[in-house]
């Protein structure tokens, strides 16, 4: 199989993987919407833990701030402002659900086959350069090689911010 040595990294990976898969499966299977959002918060925190394992501490921090913090709260706000009468019974469409499940499982089978088939020999984690300070390295890369995308993304954020306000305004 995966030729895994049972060290500390694998133990931590296992814990985070269980957290994320459990959260994702619960997200799909819960019936109450708020519970779904809370289980998604568990997935986001697990992803942050995996980023720490992958030596991307800055990204882990951003993940906790943006996803586990902002996006979860935003979704809860969306639910609170839209879900008044959700007590009606869900009309289930078995055919559609089965088709979607078969498609998702088929895609996973394909991806899993490709991953198993690929040759990852010798790729045992040469750490990205400048490992001493992850944030410093990201900052330098961002402002030396990716200045234009960085500025574009700031414009995108401003546009999204103004657009969200304009869309959600009362008399829009």
């Amino acid at each position: 199989m995966f030729d895994i040595e049972f060290n500390g990294e694998f133990a931590a990976f296992f814990v985070f993987a269980v957290l994320m898969i459990a959260g994702a499966v619960l997200m799909v299977s819960f019936t109450k919407v708020v519970h779904m959002v809370l289980s998604m918060a568990a997935v986001f925190l697990g992803a942050a833990g995996m980023f720490v394992l992958l030596e991307a501490e800055f990204l882990a921090f951003v993940q906790v701030l943006i996803y586990a913090g902002a996006v979860s709260i935003l979704m809860i706000f969306g639910i609170m402002m839209t879900n008044h009468s959700d007590s009606r019974a869900e009309t289930i469409k078995p055919l559609k659900e089965t088709l979607a499940a078969v498609g998702a499982i088929a895609l996973f089978g394909l991806l899993f086959y490709a991953i198993r088939d690929a040759d990852f020999e010798g790729l045992d984690g040469g750490t990205p350069a400048q490992t001493t300070d992850n944030t410093l390295a990201i900052g330098q890369a961002l402002f030396h090689n990716h200045v234009l995308p960085f500025e574009l993304v700031s414009v995108l954020l401003t546009v999204a911010f103004i657009g969200a306000i304009a869309l959600a305004k009362k008399e829009a």
Binding site: L54, T82, I115, F120, P128, I138, L157
Partner: protein, 100 residues
């Protein structure tokens, strides 16, 4: 370890895809899309450490993905609130005007 991370991301992506296709509450569809984007981020960061040429660029890409995903979530929720005001529901299968 790389194969483990890639498999993990594939599992998350497929669960997200299933949720986005099946769920009828539009907020949960948005959440499933976030899950899929998160799986992609995991792949990017995994390759930034274990790839052929380990490089910080994978993390930069993940950072941009997170930014765009946050913008998408904000605009998506705003659209849902506007839709709810206009139609009184956010069930995805009740928005079928163009199909009639």
């Amino acid at each position: 370890m790389l194969a483990s991370y890639l498999t993990m991301a594939a599992i998350l992506f497929c669960i997200g895809l299933y949720g986005a296709l099946v769920k009828r509450n539009a907020v949960i569809v948005l959440l499933s899309i976030e899950l899929m984007l998160n799986a992609v981020n995991l792949n990017l960061v995994a390759f930034s450490k274990y790839g052929v040429v380990p490089s910080i660029n994978g993390q930069i890409f993940a950072l941009f993905t997170i930014t765009v995903a946050a913008a998408e979530a904000a605009v998506g929720v705003a659209v849902l609130i506007a839709l709810f005001r206009a139609r009184g529901t956010i069930k995805t299968d009740e928005f079928d005007e163009l199909r009639r």
